[in-house]
Protein backbone atom coordinates (compact mmCIF):
# COMPACT_ATOMS: atom_id res chain seq x y z
CA UNK A 1 0.00 0.00 0.00
CA UNK A 2 2.72 2.45 0.95
CA UNK A 3 4.82 1.41 -2.00
CA UNK A 4 1.83 1.92 -4.27
CA UNK A 5 1.29 5.33 -2.79
CA UNK A 6 4.94 6.12 -3.27
CA UNK A 7 4.81 5.03 -6.91
CA UNK A 8 1.66 7.07 -7.42
CA UNK A 9 3.29 10.13 -5.95
CA UNK A 10 6.27 9.64 -8.23
CA UNK A 11 3.97 9.41 -11.20
CA UNK A 12 2.24 12.63 -10.19
CA UNK A 13 5.32 14.56 -9.26
CA UNK A 14 7.51 13.14 -11.97
CA UNK A 15 6.77 15.36 -14.95
CA UNK A 16 6.97 18.59 -12.95
CA UNK A 17 10.58 18.31 -11.89
CA UNK A 18 11.33 17.35 -15.46
CA UNK A 19 9.47 20.44 -16.69
CA UNK A 20 11.07 22.68 -14.12
CA UNK A 21 14.42 21.15 -14.94
CA UNK A 22 13.73 21.90 -18.57
CA UNK A 23 12.79 25.51 -17.87
CA UNK A 24 15.65 26.09 -15.47
CA UNK A 25 17.99 24.43 -17.88
CA UNK A 26 16.87 26.64 -20.74
CA UNK A 27 17.80 30.04 -19.28
CA UNK A 28 20.98 28.58 -17.86
CA UNK A 29 22.02 27.11 -21.15
CA UNK A 30 21.24 30.12 -23.31
CA UNK A 31 23.89 32.48 -21.93
CA UNK A 32 26.54 29.84 -22.45
CA UNK A 33 25.37 28.39 -25.76
CA UNK A 34 22.97 30.64 -27.58
CA UNK A 35 22.44 28.13 -30.38
CA UNK A 36 21.56 24.86 -28.69
CA UNK A 37 21.41 21.86 -30.94
CA UNK A 38 18.54 19.86 -29.60
CA UNK A 39 16.54 17.10 -31.16
CA UNK A 40 13.42 19.16 -31.46
CA UNK A 41 13.42 22.20 -33.71
CA UNK A 42 10.70 23.74 -31.57
CA UNK A 43 12.67 23.78 -28.37
CA UNK A 44 15.58 25.47 -30.09
CA UNK A 45 13.25 28.16 -31.33
CA UNK A 46 11.80 28.53 -27.88
CA UNK A 47 15.22 29.04 -26.37
CA UNK A 48 16.26 31.47 -29.06
CA UNK A 49 12.99 33.25 -28.48
CA UNK A 50 13.72 33.44 -24.80
CA UNK A 51 17.22 34.84 -25.34
CA UNK A 52 16.47 38.43 -26.39
CA UNK A 53 13.91 39.07 -23.66
CA UNK A 54 15.59 41.01 -20.95
CA UNK A 55 12.91 41.15 -18.31
CA UNK A 56 13.13 38.29 -15.95
CA UNK A 57 9.44 37.40 -15.53
CA UNK A 58 9.08 36.60 -19.24
CA UNK A 59 11.45 33.66 -19.48
CA UNK A 60 9.69 32.22 -16.49
CA UNK A 61 6.20 32.81 -17.91
CA UNK A 62 6.65 32.36 -21.66
CA UNK A 63 8.36 29.01 -22.01
CA UNK A 64 6.03 27.36 -19.55
CA UNK A 65 2.92 27.16 -21.73
CA UNK A 66 5.03 26.42 -24.79
CA UNK A 67 7.33 23.87 -23.28
CA UNK A 68 4.57 21.44 -22.39
CA UNK A 69 3.36 20.84 -25.96
CA UNK A 70 6.96 20.75 -27.16
CA UNK A 71 7.72 18.21 -24.51
CA UNK A 72 4.68 16.27 -25.60
CA UNK A 73 6.03 16.25 -29.16
CA UNK A 74 9.45 15.22 -28.02
CA UNK A 75 8.11 12.60 -25.65
CA UNK A 76 5.76 11.15 -28.26
CA UNK A 77 8.82 10.11 -30.27
CA UNK A 78 6.79 9.79 -33.46
CA UNK A 79 8.45 10.63 -36.79
CA UNK A 80 7.40 14.02 -38.25
CA UNK A 81 4.96 13.66 -41.10
CA UNK A 82 6.26 15.77 -44.00
CA UNK A 83 2.77 16.24 -45.45
CA UNK A 84 1.27 17.66 -42.27
CA UNK A 85 1.43 21.45 -41.80
CA UNK A 86 4.52 22.39 -39.90
CA UNK A 87 3.61 24.53 -36.95
CA UNK A 88 6.35 26.85 -35.98
CA UNK A 89 6.77 29.83 -33.80
CA UNK A 90 7.95 32.86 -35.66
CA UNK A 91 11.18 34.42 -34.58
CA UNK A 92 10.47 37.14 -32.11
CA UNK A 93 12.22 40.38 -32.88
CA UNK A 94 13.67 42.60 -30.26
CA UNK A 95 11.37 45.56 -30.95
CA UNK A 96 8.78 47.02 -33.32
CA UNK A 97 7.91 46.66 -36.14
CA UNK A 98 7.01 43.05 -35.69
CA UNK A 99 6.56 42.52 -39.41
CA UNK A 100 8.62 43.15 -42.47
CA UNK A 101 7.99 43.81 -46.14
CA UNK A 102 7.55 40.08 -46.82
CA UNK A 103 4.74 39.91 -44.27
CA UNK A 104 3.04 42.98 -45.78
CA UNK A 105 3.30 41.42 -49.21
CA UNK A 106 1.78 38.19 -47.92
CA UNK A 107 -1.07 40.13 -46.37
CA UNK A 108 -1.71 42.02 -49.62
CA UNK A 109 -1.65 38.76 -51.50
CA UNK A 110 -4.08 37.13 -49.12
CA UNK A 111 -6.63 39.91 -49.36
CA UNK A 112 -5.95 40.64 -53.03
CA UNK A 113 -4.97 44.25 -52.35
CA UNK A 114 -3.25 46.22 -55.11
CA UNK A 115 0.46 46.64 -55.06
CA UNK A 116 2.08 49.42 -53.16
CA UNK A 117 1.69 52.89 -54.48
CA UNK A 118 4.49 54.02 -56.73
CA UNK A 119 7.18 56.10 -55.19
CA UNK A 120 6.38 59.77 -54.86
CA UNK A 121 7.86 62.10 -57.43
CA UNK A 122 11.00 63.98 -56.73
CA UNK A 123 10.57 67.60 -55.74
CA UNK A 124 10.35 69.92 -58.68
CA UNK A 125 12.85 72.55 -59.58
CA UNK A 126 12.34 76.28 -59.46
CA UNK A 127 11.06 76.18 -55.90
CA UNK A 128 7.44 75.94 -57.03
CA UNK A 129 7.59 79.12 -59.08
CA UNK A 130 6.25 76.94 -61.87
CA UNK A 131 3.02 75.40 -60.64
CA UNK A 132 2.88 71.66 -60.00
CA UNK A 133 0.53 69.21 -58.27
CA UNK A 134 3.24 68.38 -55.75
CA UNK A 135 3.45 72.01 -54.68
CA UNK A 136 1.29 73.63 -52.06
CA UNK A 137 1.02 77.35 -52.43
CA UNK A 138 2.64 78.72 -55.58
CA UNK A 139 3.31 82.18 -56.88
CA UNK A 140 3.65 82.55 -60.61
CA UNK A 141 4.10 85.28 -63.15
CA UNK A 142 2.21 84.57 -66.37
CA UNK A 143 2.45 86.20 -69.77
CA UNK A 144 -0.31 85.89 -72.37
CA UNK A 145 -0.02 86.49 -76.08
CA UNK A 146 -3.32 86.38 -77.92
CA UNK A 147 -5.16 87.35 -81.04
CA UNK A 148 -8.03 89.66 -80.11
CA UNK A 149 -11.11 90.54 -82.07
CA UNK A 150 -12.16 93.91 -80.75
CA UNK A 151 -15.36 95.84 -81.09
CA UNK A 152 -16.51 99.24 -79.92
CA UNK A 153 -19.83 100.97 -80.03
CA UNK A 154 -19.76 103.63 -82.72
CA UNK A 155 -22.26 106.27 -83.61
CA UNK A 156 -25.39 105.41 -81.69
CA UNK A 157 -27.68 107.30 -84.07
CA UNK A 158 -26.64 105.03 -86.89
CA UNK A 159 -26.19 101.92 -84.83
CA UNK A 160 -22.57 101.50 -85.85
CA UNK A 161 -20.24 99.03 -84.28
CA UNK A 162 -16.56 99.32 -85.02
CA UNK A 163 -14.83 96.00 -85.35
CA UNK A 164 -11.20 95.22 -85.96
CA UNK A 165 -8.60 92.54 -85.44
CA UNK A 166 -5.99 93.26 -82.88
CA UNK A 167 -3.65 91.63 -80.42
CA UNK A 168 -3.49 91.30 -76.66
CA UNK A 169 -0.51 91.00 -74.35
CA UNK A 170 -1.15 90.41 -70.70
CA UNK A 171 1.08 90.02 -67.65
CA UNK A 172 -0.39 88.60 -64.44
CA UNK A 173 0.82 87.62 -61.02
CA UNK A 174 -1.11 84.63 -59.67
CA UNK A 175 -1.15 83.53 -56.04
CA UNK A 176 -2.33 79.93 -56.06
CA UNK A 177 -3.61 78.68 -52.73
CA UNK A 178 -4.27 74.92 -52.47
CA UNK A 179 -7.97 74.72 -51.75
CA UNK A 180 -8.47 71.06 -52.62
CA UNK A 181 -5.81 68.47 -51.90
CA UNK A 182 -5.62 64.72 -52.06
CA UNK A 183 -3.39 62.46 -50.09
CA UNK A 184 -1.71 59.24 -51.11
CA UNK A 185 -0.11 57.62 -48.07
CA UNK A 186 1.88 60.50 -46.63
CA UNK A 187 2.29 62.50 -49.81
CA UNK A 188 -0.07 65.35 -50.47
CA UNK A 189 -1.04 66.48 -53.94
CA UNK A 190 -2.88 69.62 -54.93
CA UNK A 191 -6.07 69.03 -56.83
CA UNK A 192 -7.35 72.56 -57.17
CA UNK A 193 -5.88 75.95 -56.49
CA UNK A 194 -7.72 79.22 -56.10
CA UNK A 195 -6.32 82.60 -55.39
CA UNK A 196 -6.10 86.28 -56.25
CA UNK A 197 -4.43 87.59 -59.33
CA UNK A 198 -3.60 91.00 -60.67
CA UNK A 199 -1.92 92.34 -63.74
CA UNK A 200 -1.91 94.54 -66.79
CA UNK A 201 -3.30 94.10 -70.32
CA UNK A 202 -1.94 95.80 -73.45
CA UNK A 203 -3.55 96.18 -76.84
CA UNK A 204 -3.36 98.41 -79.90
CA UNK A 205 -2.82 102.17 -80.00
CA UNK A 206 -1.09 101.88 -76.68
CA UNK A 207 -4.23 101.19 -74.70
CA UNK A 208 -3.66 99.35 -71.51
CA UNK A 209 -5.78 98.16 -68.65
CA UNK A 210 -5.18 96.91 -65.17
CA UNK A 211 -6.97 93.88 -63.87
CA UNK A 212 -7.68 92.45 -60.43
CA UNK A 213 -9.50 89.20 -59.85
CA UNK A 214 -9.24 85.51 -59.04
CA UNK A 215 -7.74 82.54 -60.80
CA UNK A 216 -8.46 78.85 -60.47
CA UNK A 217 -6.57 75.83 -61.71
CA UNK A 218 -7.89 72.28 -61.53
CA UNK A 219 -5.34 69.54 -62.02
CA UNK A 220 -6.35 66.48 -64.01
CA UNK A 221 -3.37 64.44 -62.95
CA UNK A 222 -0.36 64.37 -60.68
CA UNK A 223 2.53 64.30 -63.09
CA UNK A 224 4.97 67.03 -64.06
CA UNK A 225 3.05 67.63 -67.28
CA UNK A 226 -0.39 66.83 -65.95
CA UNK A 227 -3.17 68.58 -67.84
CA UNK A 228 -5.12 71.22 -66.06
CA UNK A 229 -8.13 73.43 -66.55
CA UNK A 230 -7.61 77.06 -65.71
CA UNK A 231 -10.24 79.70 -65.22
CA UNK A 232 -9.75 83.30 -64.30
CA UNK A 233 -11.92 86.34 -64.06
CA UNK A 234 -11.09 89.86 -63.13
CA UNK A 235 -12.24 93.44 -63.02
CA UNK A 236 -10.58 95.34 -65.86
CA UNK A 237 -10.09 99.09 -65.73
CA UNK A 238 -8.56 101.40 -68.28
CA UNK A 239 -5.34 103.02 -67.22
CA UNK A 240 -4.00 104.88 -70.20
CA UNK A 241 -2.18 104.67 -73.45
CA UNK A 242 0.84 105.74 -75.34
CA UNK A 243 0.13 105.83 -79.07
CA UNK A 244 2.77 104.93 -81.59
CA UNK A 245 4.68 107.64 -83.38
CA UNK A 246 3.80 106.11 -86.73
CA UNK A 247 0.09 105.93 -86.23
CA UNK A 248 -0.54 109.02 -84.15
CA UNK A 249 1.51 111.22 -86.41
CA UNK A 250 2.91 113.16 -83.52
CA UNK A 251 5.38 112.65 -80.74
CA UNK A 252 3.87 109.88 -78.66
CA UNK A 253 2.59 111.10 -75.38
CA UNK A 254 1.38 109.06 -72.48
CA UNK A 255 -2.29 109.72 -71.86
CA UNK A 256 -4.51 108.45 -69.16
CA UNK A 257 -7.82 107.12 -70.27
CA UNK A 258 -10.79 106.99 -68.04
CA UNK A 259 -13.34 104.22 -68.11
CA UNK A 260 -15.65 102.52 -65.68
CA UNK A 261 -14.68 99.14 -64.43
CA UNK A 262 -15.37 96.28 -66.80
CA UNK A 263 -14.61 92.62 -66.49
CA UNK A 264 -12.49 90.03 -68.21
CA UNK A 265 -12.74 86.25 -68.03
CA UNK A 266 -10.96 83.38 -69.66
CA UNK A 267 -10.76 79.60 -69.68
CA UNK A 268 -7.61 77.71 -70.46
CA UNK A 269 -6.43 74.16 -70.93
CA UNK A 270 -2.92 73.79 -69.67
CA UNK A 271 -0.02 71.36 -69.57
CA UNK A 272 1.74 71.21 -66.24
CA UNK A 273 2.28 74.69 -64.95
CA UNK A 274 4.13 75.68 -68.06
CA UNK A 275 1.41 77.03 -70.29
CA UNK A 276 -2.17 76.93 -71.41
CA UNK A 277 -4.28 77.61 -74.47
CA UNK A 278 -6.62 80.36 -73.44
CA UNK A 279 -9.97 81.59 -74.75
CA UNK A 280 -11.60 84.57 -73.18
CA UNK A 281 -13.24 87.94 -73.45
CA UNK A 282 -13.28 91.37 -71.99
CA UNK A 283 -15.96 94.00 -71.70
CA UNK A 284 -15.42 97.66 -70.91
CA UNK A 285 -18.38 99.51 -69.51
CA UNK A 286 -19.41 102.80 -71.07
CA UNK A 287 -19.26 106.09 -69.27
CA UNK A 288 -22.35 107.78 -70.55
CA UNK A 289 -24.12 109.29 -67.60
CA UNK A 290 -26.07 112.43 -68.21
CA UNK A 291 -24.09 114.48 -65.74
CA UNK A 292 -20.84 113.74 -67.55
CA UNK A 293 -20.12 116.19 -70.37
CA UNK A 294 -20.27 114.55 -73.76
CA UNK A 295 -16.63 115.06 -74.57
CA UNK A 296 -15.66 112.93 -71.61
CA UNK A 297 -17.99 110.06 -72.32
CA UNK A 298 -16.72 106.72 -73.46
CA UNK A 299 -18.65 104.05 -75.26
CA UNK A 300 -18.92 100.38 -74.59
CA UNK A 301 -16.25 98.14 -76.02
CA UNK A 302 -15.00 94.65 -75.73
CA UNK A 303 -12.95 91.90 -77.21
CA UNK A 304 -12.76 88.14 -77.64
CA UNK A 305 -9.32 86.64 -77.59
CA UNK A 306 -7.63 83.32 -78.12
CA UNK A 307 -4.01 82.78 -77.31
CA UNK A 308 -1.34 81.17 -75.19
CA UNK A 309 -0.59 81.92 -71.56
CA UNK A 310 2.49 80.60 -69.84
CA UNK A 311 4.92 81.01 -67.00
CA UNK A 312 7.57 83.56 -67.87
CA UNK A 313 10.33 81.52 -66.26
CA UNK A 314 10.81 79.29 -69.24
CA UNK A 315 11.02 82.23 -71.60
CA UNK A 316 8.74 81.52 -74.53
CA UNK A 317 5.53 83.03 -73.14
CA UNK A 318 7.31 86.26 -72.21
CA UNK A 319 8.93 86.46 -75.63
CA UNK A 320 5.60 85.84 -77.35
CA UNK A 321 3.88 88.46 -75.22
CA UNK A 322 6.55 91.08 -75.92
CA UNK A 323 6.39 90.33 -79.64
CA UNK A 324 2.61 90.50 -79.66
CA UNK A 325 2.67 93.76 -77.75
CA UNK A 326 5.16 95.31 -80.13
CA UNK A 327 3.49 94.17 -83.32
CA UNK A 328 0.06 95.17 -82.11
CA UNK A 329 1.29 98.56 -81.07
CA UNK A 330 3.03 99.17 -84.37
CA UNK A 331 0.71 97.69 -86.94
CA UNK A 332 -2.86 97.73 -85.74
CA UNK A 333 -5.01 100.73 -86.51
CA UNK A 334 -8.48 101.24 -85.21
CA UNK A 335 -11.18 102.02 -87.79
CA UNK A 336 -12.67 105.46 -87.66
CA UNK A 337 -16.33 104.58 -87.73
Amino acid sequence: MSSMLFALSLFVVGPEPAASAETTAAPQETPATPETETASEVTSEVTSGATPTETEPDPVAAPEPVSEPTEAQVDSATPVDPDAPQLRVVDEKSGPPYYDEADVAALRNRYELPDEQPLARKPVRWRCLISDPTCGMTIELNATAAYAFRAQQGDVSRGNVRKWSSGRAQYDLWLNLPTLTEQVRNVRYTKMTLGPKGGVVFSDTGQFWGNLGIAMRYWLGRGRFAPSIEMSSALAFKLGGRPTRNLAGAEPKFETQRGPVGFTADVGFGIGGFGALVVGGQYDSPLAREDVPEQFRTSASGMFFIGFRGNILWGAPAGAAVLTHGLTQRLVEQPNN
Binding site: I139, Y171, F296
Partner: protein, 253 residues
Amino acid sequence: MTFPLTLLLLCTAPSEAGADKVAPATSTEEYGPFFEDAPASDARFQSRGRKDKYPVLSVGDGWFCFVEDSHCKASLLASGEVAAGMRIPASNKGPDLPYAHWGFRGGFAIRPLMLKRKPWHPWGVGIVSSWSRGTGAVTVESTTDAQEQASTDRTDTFRVALLNQLWLSKKPHAIHLDLALGTARSQVLTSGVALFGTHAEAAVGWGGWGSVYAGADFLDRDTRVMLGFRAHGIAAGPTIAAILLGLALGGAL
Protein backbone atom coordinates in the same frame (compact mmCIF):
# COMPACT_ATOMS: atom_id res chain seq x y z
CA MET B 1 14.87 39.25 -7.97
CA THR B 2 11.99 39.85 -10.26
CA PHE B 3 10.25 42.21 -7.91
CA PRO B 4 12.98 44.88 -7.86
CA LEU B 5 13.18 44.78 -11.63
CA THR B 6 9.45 45.22 -12.08
CA LEU B 7 9.52 48.01 -9.57
CA LEU B 8 12.27 49.70 -11.60
CA LEU B 9 10.18 49.38 -14.73
CA LEU B 10 7.15 50.87 -13.09
CA CYS B 11 9.16 53.78 -11.80
CA THR B 12 10.93 54.68 -15.02
CA ALA B 13 8.04 54.68 -17.48
CA PRO B 14 5.62 57.22 -15.96
CA SER B 15 8.30 59.67 -14.86
CA GLU B 16 9.35 60.27 -18.49
CA ALA B 17 5.83 61.35 -19.34
CA GLY B 18 5.65 63.38 -16.16
CA ALA B 19 8.81 65.26 -17.08
CA ASP B 20 6.99 66.96 -19.97
CA LYS B 21 4.08 68.03 -17.84
CA VAL B 22 6.02 69.65 -15.05
CA ALA B 23 8.33 71.75 -17.28
CA PRO B 24 7.77 75.36 -16.27
CA ALA B 25 6.59 77.80 -18.93
CA THR B 26 9.18 80.52 -19.43
CA SER B 27 8.31 84.12 -20.04
CA THR B 28 9.15 83.84 -23.73
CA GLU B 29 6.79 80.95 -24.37
CA GLU B 30 3.39 81.68 -25.73
CA TYR B 31 0.55 79.70 -24.31
CA GLY B 32 -2.68 79.61 -26.24
CA PRO B 33 -4.10 78.02 -29.33
CA PHE B 34 -3.87 81.13 -31.46
CA PHE B 35 -0.11 81.43 -31.46
CA GLU B 36 0.79 77.77 -31.29
CA ASP B 37 2.63 76.20 -34.17
CA ALA B 38 0.49 73.95 -36.26
CA PRO B 39 0.89 70.32 -35.22
CA ALA B 40 3.27 68.39 -37.40
CA SER B 41 1.59 66.25 -39.98
CA ASP B 42 3.04 63.24 -41.68
CA ALA B 43 1.44 64.18 -44.97
CA ARG B 44 3.28 66.88 -46.85
CA PHE B 45 3.76 68.21 -50.32
CA GLN B 46 6.77 66.77 -52.07
CA SER B 47 7.91 70.09 -53.47
CA ARG B 48 8.40 72.99 -51.20
CA GLY B 49 9.19 76.55 -52.03
CA ARG B 50 11.87 76.69 -49.39
CA LYS B 51 13.54 74.50 -46.83
CA ASP B 52 12.83 76.24 -43.56
CA LYS B 53 10.65 78.93 -42.12
CA TYR B 54 12.79 81.81 -43.32
CA PRO B 55 12.22 83.14 -46.82
CA VAL B 56 14.75 82.54 -49.53
CA LEU B 57 15.92 86.12 -49.83
CA SER B 58 16.78 86.83 -46.23
CA VAL B 59 19.88 87.74 -44.32
CA GLY B 60 20.81 86.24 -41.01
CA ASP B 61 17.96 83.73 -40.77
CA GLY B 62 15.16 86.24 -40.85
CA TRP B 63 16.91 89.30 -39.43
CA PHE B 64 16.42 91.17 -42.69
CA CYS B 65 14.30 89.99 -45.61
CA PHE B 66 14.00 91.29 -49.10
CA VAL B 67 10.62 89.59 -49.42
CA GLU B 68 8.77 89.94 -46.14
CA ASP B 69 7.34 86.92 -44.43
CA SER B 70 5.96 85.66 -41.16
CA HIS B 71 9.30 85.12 -39.44
CA CYS B 72 11.13 88.18 -40.69
CA LYS B 73 12.29 90.63 -38.05
CA ALA B 74 12.87 93.43 -40.55
CA SER B 75 11.79 93.58 -44.17
CA LEU B 76 12.19 95.68 -47.24
CA LEU B 77 8.95 96.53 -49.03
CA ALA B 78 9.01 97.21 -52.75
CA SER B 79 6.04 96.70 -55.00
CA GLY B 80 4.18 97.80 -58.08
CA GLU B 81 0.46 98.38 -58.01
CA VAL B 82 -2.61 98.92 -60.14
CA ALA B 83 -5.90 100.13 -58.77
CA ALA B 84 -9.30 101.31 -59.91
CA GLY B 85 -11.98 103.26 -58.20
CA MET B 86 -13.80 106.54 -58.20
CA ARG B 87 -12.88 110.18 -57.96
CA ILE B 88 -15.56 111.92 -55.99
CA PRO B 89 -15.28 115.72 -56.09
CA ALA B 90 -17.38 117.97 -53.94
CA SER B 91 -20.91 118.07 -55.24
CA ASN B 92 -20.67 121.46 -56.86
CA LYS B 93 -17.41 120.70 -58.60
CA GLY B 94 -18.48 118.06 -61.04
CA PRO B 95 -19.61 114.50 -61.56
CA ASP B 96 -18.18 111.41 -59.91
CA LEU B 97 -15.88 109.82 -62.42
CA PRO B 98 -13.94 106.58 -62.63
CA TYR B 99 -10.38 106.78 -61.43
CA ALA B 100 -7.58 104.33 -62.00
CA HIS B 101 -3.89 104.47 -61.31
CA TRP B 102 -0.68 102.53 -61.49
CA GLY B 103 2.28 103.16 -59.26
CA PHE B 104 5.13 101.99 -57.09
CA ARG B 105 5.49 101.68 -53.35
CA GLY B 106 8.51 101.19 -51.18
CA GLY B 107 9.16 101.02 -47.49
CA PHE B 108 10.51 99.29 -44.49
CA ALA B 109 8.75 97.17 -41.87
CA ILE B 110 9.96 95.71 -38.58
CA ARG B 111 8.47 93.41 -35.95
CA PRO B 112 9.50 95.24 -32.75
CA LEU B 113 8.54 92.51 -30.29
CA MET B 114 10.47 89.91 -32.24
CA LEU B 115 13.74 91.77 -32.11
CA LYS B 116 14.58 90.81 -28.55
CA ARG B 117 11.67 89.37 -26.62
CA LYS B 118 9.72 86.78 -28.54
CA PRO B 119 10.47 84.28 -31.28
CA TRP B 120 7.25 85.27 -33.05
CA HIS B 121 4.74 88.05 -32.65
CA PRO B 122 1.98 89.07 -35.03
CA TRP B 123 2.43 92.84 -34.88
CA GLY B 124 4.58 94.70 -37.36
CA VAL B 125 5.13 98.40 -37.92
CA GLY B 126 6.76 100.30 -40.70
CA ILE B 127 6.85 103.30 -42.94
CA VAL B 128 5.92 103.30 -46.62
CA SER B 129 5.95 105.83 -49.40
CA SER B 130 4.41 105.55 -52.81
CA TRP B 131 4.02 107.36 -56.08
CA SER B 132 1.18 106.80 -58.52
CA ARG B 133 0.00 108.16 -61.84
CA GLY B 134 -3.71 108.07 -62.38
CA THR B 135 -6.45 109.28 -64.64
CA GLY B 136 -7.13 112.96 -64.82
CA ALA B 137 -9.83 115.05 -63.23
CA VAL B 138 -12.88 116.67 -64.78
CA THR B 139 -14.67 119.61 -63.25
CA VAL B 140 -17.99 120.91 -64.41
CA GLU B 141 -19.15 124.02 -62.67
CA SER B 142 -22.44 125.50 -63.67
CA THR B 143 -23.73 128.94 -63.05
CA THR B 144 -26.90 130.49 -64.28
CA ASP B 145 -25.04 132.00 -67.23
CA ALA B 146 -22.55 129.42 -68.32
CA GLN B 147 -20.99 126.07 -67.65
CA GLU B 148 -17.28 125.81 -67.13
CA GLN B 149 -15.58 122.57 -67.89
CA ALA B 150 -11.99 121.73 -67.29
CA SER B 151 -9.95 118.57 -67.31
CA THR B 152 -6.46 117.37 -66.61
CA ASP B 153 -4.52 114.68 -68.40
CA ARG B 154 -3.24 112.85 -65.37
CA THR B 155 -3.08 112.86 -61.60
CA ASP B 156 0.24 112.23 -59.91
CA THR B 157 0.15 111.50 -56.20
CA PHE B 158 2.91 111.11 -53.68
CA ARG B 159 2.11 109.46 -50.34
CA VAL B 160 3.89 108.74 -47.08
CA ALA B 161 2.20 106.57 -44.49
CA LEU B 162 2.73 104.70 -41.26
CA LEU B 163 2.08 101.01 -41.68
CA ASN B 164 0.66 98.58 -39.11
CA GLN B 165 0.66 94.88 -39.83
CA LEU B 166 -1.05 91.92 -38.19
CA TRP B 167 0.30 88.55 -39.23
CA LEU B 168 -2.32 85.83 -38.93
CA SER B 169 -0.18 82.73 -39.17
CA LYS B 170 3.34 81.42 -38.79
CA LYS B 171 3.22 79.44 -42.00
CA PRO B 172 5.23 80.45 -45.07
CA HIS B 173 3.53 83.15 -47.13
CA ALA B 174 1.15 83.79 -44.26
CA ILE B 175 -1.81 86.09 -44.64
CA HIS B 176 -1.38 89.46 -43.02
CA LEU B 177 -3.63 92.45 -42.57
CA ASP B 178 -2.14 95.89 -43.16
CA LEU B 179 -3.39 99.29 -42.17
CA ALA B 180 -1.65 102.40 -43.42
CA LEU B 181 -2.40 105.97 -42.41
CA GLY B 182 -0.55 108.97 -43.72
CA THR B 183 -0.50 111.95 -45.99
CA ALA B 184 -0.93 112.36 -49.72
CA ARG B 185 0.13 115.23 -51.91
CA SER B 186 -1.52 115.69 -55.26
CA GLN B 187 -3.05 118.27 -57.57
CA VAL B 188 -6.57 118.94 -56.47
CA LEU B 189 -9.08 118.49 -59.28
CA THR B 190 -8.23 120.91 -62.10
CA SER B 191 -6.83 123.66 -59.94
CA GLY B 192 -3.23 122.93 -60.83
CA VAL B 193 -2.31 123.33 -57.18
CA ALA B 194 -0.82 120.45 -55.25
CA LEU B 195 -2.12 120.19 -51.72
CA PHE B 196 -1.65 117.84 -48.81
CA GLY B 197 -4.39 115.51 -47.74
CA THR B 198 -4.91 112.25 -45.87
CA HIS B 199 -4.27 108.76 -47.13
CA ALA B 200 -5.76 105.62 -45.57
CA GLU B 201 -5.49 102.06 -46.73
CA ALA B 202 -6.38 98.54 -45.59
CA ALA B 203 -4.83 95.54 -47.27
CA VAL B 204 -4.70 91.76 -47.17
CA GLY B 205 -1.39 90.30 -48.21
CA TRP B 206 0.16 86.89 -48.78
CA GLY B 207 3.69 86.99 -47.43
CA GLY B 208 5.48 89.74 -49.24
CA TRP B 209 4.49 88.63 -52.69
CA GLY B 210 1.17 90.30 -53.29
CA SER B 211 -1.71 92.02 -51.65
CA VAL B 212 -5.18 93.28 -52.42
CA TYR B 213 -5.90 96.66 -50.94
CA ALA B 214 -8.63 99.22 -50.54
CA GLY B 215 -7.46 102.76 -50.11
CA ALA B 216 -8.54 106.36 -50.24
CA ASP B 217 -6.97 109.77 -50.62
CA PHE B 218 -8.85 112.59 -48.97
CA LEU B 219 -7.91 115.97 -50.40
CA ASP B 220 -9.66 119.29 -50.43
CA ARG B 221 -12.97 118.67 -52.23
CA ASP B 222 -11.32 115.80 -54.08
CA THR B 223 -11.72 112.28 -52.75
CA ARG B 224 -10.42 109.20 -54.46
CA VAL B 225 -11.32 105.69 -53.38
CA MET B 226 -9.72 102.67 -54.99
CA LEU B 227 -9.37 98.91 -54.93
CA GLY B 228 -6.09 97.55 -56.15
CA PHE B 229 -3.57 94.76 -56.42
CA ARG B 230 0.04 95.04 -55.43
CA ALA B 231 2.84 92.72 -56.54
CA HIS B 232 6.35 92.49 -55.15
CA GLY B 233 9.06 94.23 -57.09
CA ILE B 234 10.83 90.98 -57.86
CA ALA B 235 7.74 89.94 -59.82
CA ALA B 236 6.87 93.43 -61.04
CA GLY B 237 10.39 94.13 -62.25
CA PRO B 238 10.48 91.54 -65.03
CA THR B 239 6.94 92.54 -65.97
CA ILE B 240 7.93 96.19 -66.30
CA ALA B 241 10.96 95.22 -68.31
CA ALA B 242 8.82 93.17 -70.68
CA ILE B 243 6.34 96.04 -70.99
CA LEU B 244 9.05 98.55 -71.82
CA LEU B 245 10.49 96.13 -74.34
CA GLY B 246 7.09 95.75 -75.95
CA LEU B 247 6.61 99.51 -76.06
CA ALA B 248 10.01 99.97 -77.58
CA LEU B 249 9.28 97.28 -80.15
CA GLY B 250 5.99 99.00 -80.90
CA GLY B 251 7.58 102.36 -81.47
CA ALA B 252 5.97 104.05 -78.51
CA LEU B 253 9.17 105.00 -76.76
